[in-house]
């Protein structure tokens, strides 16, 4: 479904040149969920942004459904690939009602039957028609994220790019959104690419994942391997450790790991 070969993303030139993503390759099957894990600055979000055209592809190949993407992306691309952003407080227009937010993609793509599609989309994300004419400030964080997911799904895309979809949410709300995403994938046969710094979230939603550090792919592994604690790479191992919570008895770690 999605194939990425030797992707490089470089920002700036000369002294300000930053190689945000270096030679990253991976392949995602139709209907699969693929995770990208790493700390901030590891380039995981940049990979996602490069796929959907928000960051430049300096070199390498990104193909969706067998076709290499064009820059700028065409309408057909956005019918196939949609993105959900991290912060539902920042990614919805504060002065647009839910109805207007959801009707915009339909208008851009010249879809008819907006009324029914909007109600359908709201239903899919577990919100009733009563939410249709609300403004974002009248919604809770979890409800906003549901609207963001509805907006992404309203064009019936095949691939959903999820950039930390739950990290701005409370634990109990996170569980609801994760269940919703799990359920939608099964019902609509979606393909996910999920970016997160939380190993447990990635292992919950994805079958395979790529661990990234400093813009490079460190290790590709499976959720099952992660659960059994089998990681060949030191960095992955340290992420697993850190996700277990604070350990007091741990032997003093070697001075200052590379920053």
């Amino acid at each position: 479904m999605l194939d990425i070969q030797n992707l490089n993303v470089v920002f700036g030139t000369g002294r300000l040149r930053v190689e945000a993503v270096k030679n990253v390759s991976f392949h995602v099957e139709q209907g699969a969920a693929y995770g990208l894990v790493g700390e901030s600055g590891s380039g995981k979000s940049t990979v996602l942004r490069a796929i959907c055209g928000l960051a430049p592809i300096t070199s390498g190949r990104v193909s969706v459904d067998g076709n290499a993407v064009t820059t700028p992306r065409g309408k057909a691309f956005y019918r196939t690939v949609q993105m959900v952003f991290q912060d539902p407080y920042a990614s919805l227009h504060p002065r647009h009602t839910v109805d207007r937010t959801l009707s915009e993609p339909l208008a851009i793509h010249g879809e008819k039957d907006a009324e029914a599609r909007i109600l359908q989309a709201l239903k899919e994300v577990g919100l009733g028609p009563s939410f249709r004419f609300r403004y974002p400030h009248q919604l809770s964080g979890g409800q906003r994220q549901r609207i963001a997911i509805a907006r992404a799904l309203i064009l019936r895309p095949k691939v959903l790019l999820l950039d930390e979809p739950t990290s701005a949410l409370d634990a109990s709300v996170q569980a609801e959104i994760l269940n919703l995403l799990d359920d939608l994938r099964r019902r609509l046969g979606l393909t996910y690419i999920l970016v997160s710094h939380d190993l447990a979230v990635v292992a919950h939603l994805c079958e395979r994942l790529l661990v990234m550090q400093h813009g490079e792919a460190v290790e590709e592994t499976t959720a099952a391997a992660l659960r059994s604690g089998a990681a060949s790479n030191d960095y992955t191992q340290s992420l697993i450790q850190a996700s277990q919570g604070f350990t007091r008895v741990a032997p003093q770690p070697a001075q200052a790991p590379a920053a």
């Binding site: 634990a171 569980a175 269940n179 710094h197 292992a203 790991p257």
Partner: protein, 278 residues
């Protein structure tokens, strides 16, 4: 137990709004010795307002009342402004969530630490400078001299948070309130910051109030945990007994987290019982 360091009884924080009165904290009571106390809750549970009310940092329209609010025998409600000024930053310090917003962007890190120190101790500039450098070293900055002359935007989040901890501990406080000190940081970096905090707190015998939304983290870091819901403490327990939590809210919070250890699907969600908020 000897005389507690901090004694809070029936603490309430109210905000009078156009739409009515919102009670953010509704009758919180606890005592703190020289130990690590965690306060956990979801957004809006009143955990941060509790921490702020202790320091008298409730934003203006807010109103704080308490039957007793005493720090080391000093009544914080009736204390003069002058006494409060010596306490705040001197004997009680607070580490805020995001170093990006809570450090002064137009002052070097070193100058900020010196400022904090000289606000509370009579010290010559050179002496304060030595203290600041020693403090930066204590929080494991690799090159204290360099960090000293950097501005906050020139350091990473983890370094910024460590600088903040240095600034808060330079006055040798008796009580440190840490409000989500690591939620703006990466997992591995936050473990490093916590380790430093842990070392300093146990070395100096300080009391610590650790406010966080992360139940797992708090229970692994603190001795005792208060679980807050809708402005109330619904449960107080020893951190090591977290698994035996009695309250359905605490149990629900524990269960709804995905874990690496077991694969539960769908994740159990939290059914909020309106009775919890009563």
């Amino acid at each position: 137990m000897t005389k507690p360091l901090l004694d809070v009884e029936d603490l309430r924080v109210r905000f009078h709004l156009r739409t009515g009165t919102v009670e953010a904290v509704r009758g919180v009571s606890f005592q703190l010795g020289r130990e690590r106390l965690g306060i956990v809750g979801e957004s809006g549970s009143g955990k941060s307002q509790t921490g702020r009310a202790i320091l008298g940092l409730t934003p203006p329209p807010g109103e704080v009342t308490a039957k007793r609010l005493a720090f080391d025998g000093i009544d914080l409600q009736t204390a003069s402004k002058k006494t409060l000024r010596t306490l705040r930053g001197g004997r009680i310090s607070m580490v805020m969530q995001d170093p990006k917003y809570s450090l002064n962007p137009v002052m070097t890190i070193g100058d900020q630490i010196i400022e904090a120190y000289r606000a509370h101790a009579r010290a010559r500039k050179a002496e304060a400078r030595d203290r600041a450098l020693a403090m930066l070293e204590a929080v494991k900055m690799r090159d204290p001299g360099r960090v000293f002359s950097l501005y906050p935007h020139e350091v990473s989040g983890g370094m910024g948070q460590r600088a903040m901890i240095a600034m808060m501990l330079v006055t040798d406080p008796d009580l440190l309130i840490a409000d989500e000190p690591t939620s703006a940081l990466d997992v591995t970096v936050s473990m490093e910051v916590l380790r430093i905090l842990d070392e300093l707190v146990s070395e100096r015998g300080m009391g610590l109030i650790f406010i966080s939304h992360d139940l797992k983290l708090v229970s692994s870091f603190c001795d005792r945990v208060l679980v807050m819901y809708a402005g109330r403490v619904v449960e107080e327990l020893e951190a090591k007994n977290l698994r035996e939590a009695q309250h359905p809210y605490t149990q629900g919070l524990m269960r709804c987290l995905p874990t690496l250890a077991n694969d539960v699907r769908p994740l159990p969600t939290l059914n909020r019982d309106p009775a919890w908020a009563l």
